[in-house]
């Protein structure tokens, strides 16, 4: 197994001190002030990292902290102009968010369950389609490059343009989907609604899978390049069929790739805001009320930014727990496999 290319910053942080120390000491010894020189040299890489660190704090940490602070305030339209004057509300926003017997909490819970179902379905389908397509595209044949490029188109398209097109296609009276399903194939009795009511879940799932599977395809294709051909040849000599080759060689070899892929797909899908927003506008139908858009509605549309921030913090905590648990589980599995 080859580990993925390490993040550039990690390399950059490590390499300079080693080089500095190797070439450093002889010259340093010649100088009288040995300690400051050593410190100077050792601190250089950190000094170089400082701008990146400061930006990291500014871009990531500061907004996060502000978000957390907001979640402890009653931040409505009366205070947004100068939100430092908003009164502290303690854990009230959190209490409202998790009080599942009251409407706000119950809606959040419903939205959360919908999001979980949607995410599981979308990630599973994306992975299945992506892996299947990647495996089929492994053999070289005429037109393979063209097909590969074609498969990646949904991933390359700007989200808004792609999803708004889907929104048009899903329109009940003039949309392409109903035209094909109802007018041409004659399926179902009446024209179905896709953008309102219960079907909106499937509309959202369709767009999400359409948008997400090329990424799975891309990553799995890359992963397949690393599986030595000899394995397949040996297996073929031993009499393994295609299905057995996929089960015994391809999938186990892809395991580390899949671990990352599934995690990334999970996070993207769970947090997806653009797709439902462009598809349904500011108030999504109940069946497709994903948690990100629900939080948007709870804060931006109803001008209650404190509650929205509290819900966001809860979402982060949930995702942290899931991500942490997932990494822990999969890394333990990998360690035992390495031994």
């Amino acid at each position: 197994m080859t580990p993925p290319t390490p993040a550039p910053t990690a390399v950059g942080a490590q390499a300079p001190p080693e080089r500095a120390e190797r070439s450093g000491p002889p010259r340093a010894r010649r100088r009288s002030s040995r300690a400051p020189g050593w410190i100077r040299r050792a601190s250089l890489p950190y000094l170089l990292l400082l701008p990146a660190l400061a930006l990291e704090l500014l871009v990531h940490l500061v907004p996060m902290v502000i978000g957390v602070v907001m979640s402890f305030k009653t931040l409505t339209q009366f205070y947004i102009r100068d939100w430092t004057t908003a009164p502290w509300s303690g854990f009230d926003n959190y209490r409202i968010s998790v009080d599942f017997s009251a409407p706000v909490g119950k809606d959040l819970l419903d939205s959360f369950v919908t999001t979980c179902l949607f995410t599981v379905a979308s990630v599973a389908l994306c992975w299945l389609l992506g892996t299947a397509a990647a495996v089929f595209m492994q053999e070289s044949f005429r037109g393979r490059g063209l097909l590969r490029a074609l498969f990646l188109v949904p991933y390359a398209l700007p989200v808004y343009a792609a999803v708004i097109t889907w929104a048009f296609m899903f329109q009940r009276d003039n949309g392409l989907v109903n035209h094909v399903l109802h007018d041409q194939l004659g399926l179902g009795g009446d024209r179905a609604f896709w953008l309102i009511g219960d079907n909106s879940f499937y509309a959202l799932l369709t767009v999400s899978v359409w948008k997400g599977w090329p990424f799975a395809f891309l990553i799995v294709t890359a992963g397949l390049q690393n599986i030595p051909k000899e394995l397949y040849e040996a297996a073929a000599i031993d009499g393994a069929g295609v299905w057995q080759q996929i089960r015994r060689i391809t999938l186990p070899s892809l395991r580390p790739v899949n671990q990352v892929l599934v995690l990334v797909l999970f996070l993207w899908t769970f947090n997806d805001f653009n797709t439902p927003y462009v598809l349904f506008g500011r108030s999504a139908p109940k069946a497709a009320d994903l948690v990100s858009i629900h939080i948007y509605q709870s804060s931006f549309v109803t001008w209650n930014f404190g509650t929205g921030a509290a819900m966001s913090v809860l979402l982060v905590l949930f995702l942290l727990v899931v991500t942490g648990g997932y990494l822990l589980l999969t890394s333990r599995g990998r360690k035992s496999a390495d031994v």
């Binding site: 990690a10 957390v68 609604f193 991500t323 890394s331």
Partner: protein, 438 residues
């Protein structure tokens, strides 16, 4: 490997948190604006014409006149309605906004509560020629009662019933309906062969609100009591919402597809002869842009309940309109006031309102014969006699979202063939009321 994993985990965690914590805050609290850039202004205009490009063309010509008069260059941005409120909120939070902006008049009290807009006190009104120049009902829709208005009326509008003359003649209907009973009766004659009587924008929250507010008035209900507390579940409010959705659910004079309309598709249906009537504010320019000839459609007042006339129950429109406002953090306060004075001058009021098919809130400009045409005279009469402003309470925006969404859900039920009952309406409105801030 371990270090890599730690780095990856850290990156994941930060990326995650950054995604989730969507909003930041600003604390720029400049006083009531300064005058440190007297030669330029930024103006956010709302979309009043058939599209953004048309608006740019119309307004740029007028802004050139202003530049010649005052030497102030106005940077124009026309913002679609779907973005305008969010943009204003973002500007409020950051303190970085335009100098002058248009707002939907129903947002006046909500935005007034943020303190981001310059209050129009005596002195400010004097700078633009005095409060008495404007129609009272229009100024009443510019802020909460008893406070200095947060804006000045710019274009006034009211709802009217637009009907397709040919479709009415084909169905043997001599005149447009004056009561809801007549509308339903006519509607049943018009709805056949794939054509429908009435258009609706079922997924457009604001439009839902405008319609049920008026029906609510006719049922003797307001959505807020005098103390500003929501009363969404009153008998009248429930009856109003039910009556509106019943046009599809029970009377079957609205096409089921209208339940998902939110981008003015109902106007397109009207222009192409698929529906015979729409309830709309100043739709003439849109119909013309979509290829209809002015003689193809007629305009009538929005129907009222049958029976004896009564001032409150005969309310048949909201006071719709656009207000113009000065952002408190402006860097050119004097220039901004001068610009508002220009936009509300008799001359500009005549030009702009004529172009947009709206009614000037400036009384002197209303006298222009152009506003006595059949189209606009209906709007003008309605505005003067039977229009009421939407509740001017700080929670108006939340009300639009909560109740608008409830009505949207009920349309979806009706379209899916599910029954819409008094209980189901009441349940939806109860839920909407529970979402309102305590």
């Amino acid at each position: 490997m371990r270090r890599l994993r730690a780095a990856a985990a850290f990156a994941t965690v930060t990326a995650l948190a950054a995604t989730a914590s969507a909003c930041g805050g600003g604390s720029d609290t400049g006083g009531s604006g300064g005058n440190d850039s007297p030669k330029s202004l930024t103006y956010w205009a709302s979309n009043q014409g058939p599209n953004i490009e048309a608006d740019k063309k119309i307004l740029t010509a007028e802004l050139k006149k202003f530049e010649q008069q005052s030497g102030i260059k106005v940077k124009l941005e026309v913002i679609p309605w779907s973005d305008l409120l969010n943009r204003i909120l973002a500007a409020t939070t950051s303190g970085q906004g335009p100098d002058v902006l248009n707002i939907g008049n129903t947002w006046s009290a909500s935005l007034q509560a943020t303190g981001a807009l310059l209050p129009w006190d005596q002195a400010a009104f004097d700078a633009i020629g005095g409060r008495a120049r404007f129609a009272d009902s229009a100024v009443a829709a510019a802020g909460a009662p008893g406070k200095d208005p947060a804006a000045v009326p710019l274009y006034s509008l009211s709802y009217a019933l637009y009907y397709n003359k040919k479709m009415f003649a084909d169905a043997g209907i001599a005149k447009p309906p004056a009561t809801w009973d007549e509308l339903v009766a006519d509607g049943k004659r018009l709805s056949k062969d794939g054509k429908w009587a009435l258009g609706a924008e079922g997924a457009n929250l604001a439009n839902n609100i405008h319609q049920v507010f008026v029906l609510g008035k006719q049922h003797g209900a307001d959505f807020f009591d005098s103390a500003g507390k929501p009363t969404f579940t009153s008998e009248g409010a429930v009856a109003a919402v039910k009556q509106y959705v019943d046009f599809m659910a029970k009377d079957r004079i609205v096409a089921p597809g209208n339940a998902e309309y939110a981008q003015n598709q109902s106007l397109r249906d009207f222009s192409t002869g698929r529906t015979a009537m729409v309830l709309w504010q100043a739709a003439a320019s849109t119909f013309a842009a979509q290829g209809m000839k002015p003689e193809d459609w007629g305009v009538a007042p929005v129907p009222v309940p049958a029976g004896t006339p009564d001032a409150v129950k005969n309310v048949n429109s909201m006071v719709a309109g656009i207000n113009i406002s000065v952002f408190k953090n402006t860097h050119n306060r004097d220039g901004a006031l001068r610009f508002v004075k220009f936009m509300t001058s008799d001359e500009e009021q005549r030009i702009l309102n004529k172009t947009y098919g709206s009614i000037p809130p400036v009384k002197a400009a209303q006298q222009d014969p152009a506003f006595g045409a059949p189209d606009t005279s209906v709007l003008k009469e309605t505005l003067l006699k039977s229009a009421a402003p939407l509740p001017q309470v700080p929670e108006e925006s939340q009300f639009e979202t909560a109740v608008g969404t409830a009505v949207k859900g009920l349309w979806a039920d009706a379209a899916a063939g599910r029954e819409v009952t008094t209980e189901s309406v009441k349940e939806a409105l109860t839920k909407a009321q529970q979402q309102m801030p305590k």
